[in-house]
Symmetry: C2
Subunit: 346 residues, 2 copies
């Protein structure tokens, strides 16, 4: 059996779970490399992936005997067979944050489950610590994103629309990665203060501030980078706020290490903002991996301590949202740290 499936089974034992239903496709991909619709059942004796006609050929091509995964087409499974998968299982685990209430109830009925136990933490606790290969993928995704930003610095100039810049990002990622990890945000001028910005046909002007939030995927792993660009020389006030955000990002980065308290780090940034009459909007960051947002949340109400091989973003924001990857650390996603004053108004 592959290591990750084995790790899940070990944790199941510790929680007295005899079975588990894994429905989140990202978790299924993490455990099996299968990227298809279906359900993964860990029964007493077997690992079973139930899918449908569309995916049988593909899934069979992915699985190796070493994985010890049985593939089933759902249309060949009878009502009785469903009810027998977890026969003699006292407790069966499920992903409580992924399953809808409705599916939760369906599963209990369909699989005749005695005691359906919240067990998503098993997957979360595995996925939150990245292995060498995962980190290499995230780093590569960050590098491609850095290159994308370098390209943008040469590309962006007054007269372009937000949409044209967004398209440039999209195409760069198509050429150099598996594509965007989320739809890029390009917010200029009055739009740049809206963290909820839609990409519009607004034309970039001189004196604009542009916030760009973008990322790509490498082998399924995401990067996530935000940069603020000034067209021309920023005002004193703009510089002050920019530097406040930058300093706090740097400080947070310094504090991010094995054993550090997420809460303490976020509190530090928050008070530093408040002293300058600024407000820390939303949280300071989030985990990144197979999903663009995953645990741990880097916010005031997260009590956990950071551990080596967690990957998180460091993105204090008020008006400006910015994120970094420090190549010497494993904790944050993104690349360099620079203050950009882009002046292309010749």
């Amino acid at each position: 059996m592959n290591d990750r499936l084995q790790a899940v089974r070990n944790k199941m034992k510790g929680l007295n779970l005899q079975g588990m239903i894994i429905a989140n496709p990202i978790n299924i991909k993490y455990l099996t490399k299968i990227d298809a619709e279906g359900i993964l059942l860990l029964t007493r004796k077997e690992n079973i992936f139930i899918t449908d006609g569309r995916y049988m050929e593909y899934v069979s091509s992915i699985i190796t005997p070493f994985d010890e995964i049985v593939i089933d087409d759902q249309k060949n499974i009878s009502k009785d067979e469903y009810e027998n998968f977890f026969l003699f299982c006292e407790n069966v685990g499920f992903e409580e944050k992924y399953l809808s209430y409705s599916t939760y109830k369906d599963f209990i009925r369909k699989y005749k489950i005695n005691n359906f136990v919240e067990a998503e933490e098993i997957l979360t606790s595995l996925r939150i610590l990245k292995d060498e290969e995962e980190i290499a993928n995230i780093k590569r995704a960050c590098e491609v994103t850095d290159n994308c930003f370098d390209m943008l610095l040469k590309f962006i100039k007054p007269g372009l629309t937000e949409k044209q810049i967004a398209r440039q990002i999209h195409n760069f990622y198509l050429d150099n990665s598996e594509g965007e990890s989320f739809e890029a945000i390009v917010a200029s001028g009055e739009n740049s203060s809206k963290p909820h910005a839609m990409v519009t046909d607004r034309i970039i002007n001189t004196k604009d501030i542009i916030t760009i939030d973008m990322g790509c995927k490498i082998n399924g792993y995401c990067s996530d980078m935000t940069r603020t660009i000034f067209i021309g020389e920023p005002t004193e006030e703009q510089k002050n706020i920019y530097n406040l955000v930058l300093e706090n990002q740097k400080r947070a980065l310094d504090e991010i290490r094995d054993g550090a308290s997420i809460k303490t780090i976020v509190k530090g940034v928050e008070s530093s903002f408040n002293i300058q009459s600024q407000t820390l909007i939303h949280s300071l960051g989030h985990g990144v991996g197979l999903e663009i947002h995953e645990p741990p949340a880097v916010s005031l109400n997260n009590d956990i301590l950071l551990k080596e091989n967690m990957v998180i973003t460091d993105e204090p924001r008020n008006l400006f949202a910015r994120k970094f990857w420090n190549k010497n650390r494993r904790y944050c996603s993104c690349n360099q740290e620079r203050c950009f004053n882009l002046d292309r108004i010749e």
Copy 2:
């Protein structure tokens, strides 16, 4: 109060619900036009949208006094206030297919709910019947998709990669709509038989079959169209299968009308496929609207009857997946019906 919120409140009365929590952002957008993170509470006396600092400015700009929606920043709401929203409410409704099991439990605790009742059907039953404006948006999205296909017929030729075609689609939609309703599938040659196709760097060859599945959004409403293209003259076997799919699609389209049984229509297609030793993969179609997949499912296990102003796809598939919009009907999403033999090998 706007008509849709009023309709929800009327249905709540019929189900003896004194309150309702609406968490699905698509439902919130449908009811309020607000496109932001947050929760919509329908309490005894008020409609309250709870959001956070990122969206306060935007939401305030969207809401009119006529909507009768109160906006609250979550950080200003105390524990007690949360517990008082549904005070004296015997039954409070929720979206059982949208809420995760975990959030379901959180809400009961946070809002001190006595009886939390599955009530997603209220929203589903409203959204499943489209009004004039919604249908106009879907039709427009289908027209843009038709135009995209016309563009592709001129663009596609041997030597291009799947990715280059996908990018052309993406850019066309950026220029002519709000962008893709889902990431376009371009599956050629051996990839075209995989309904799960990823877009790859595979180069289009002479004699290839290309399956293209694409759609865009207009005012939030989706189109969804699949076409199969032959590069050069198809073989007799290919023609036979293509025509089998085409005939069944046409027949289903003829049967799709107010009062028709979804089950009967799907059964008809299934047996016609089986007689030719072909298998109907997956379902026959699905509803389309603000979401690319929404009720009603057009599959064997859906017992409902079609009603005027439902919008569904008609996409029988075995090897080839194809969908249509018949301009004279309101039931199906897509545009013309044509058999394409694309020969660009001069």
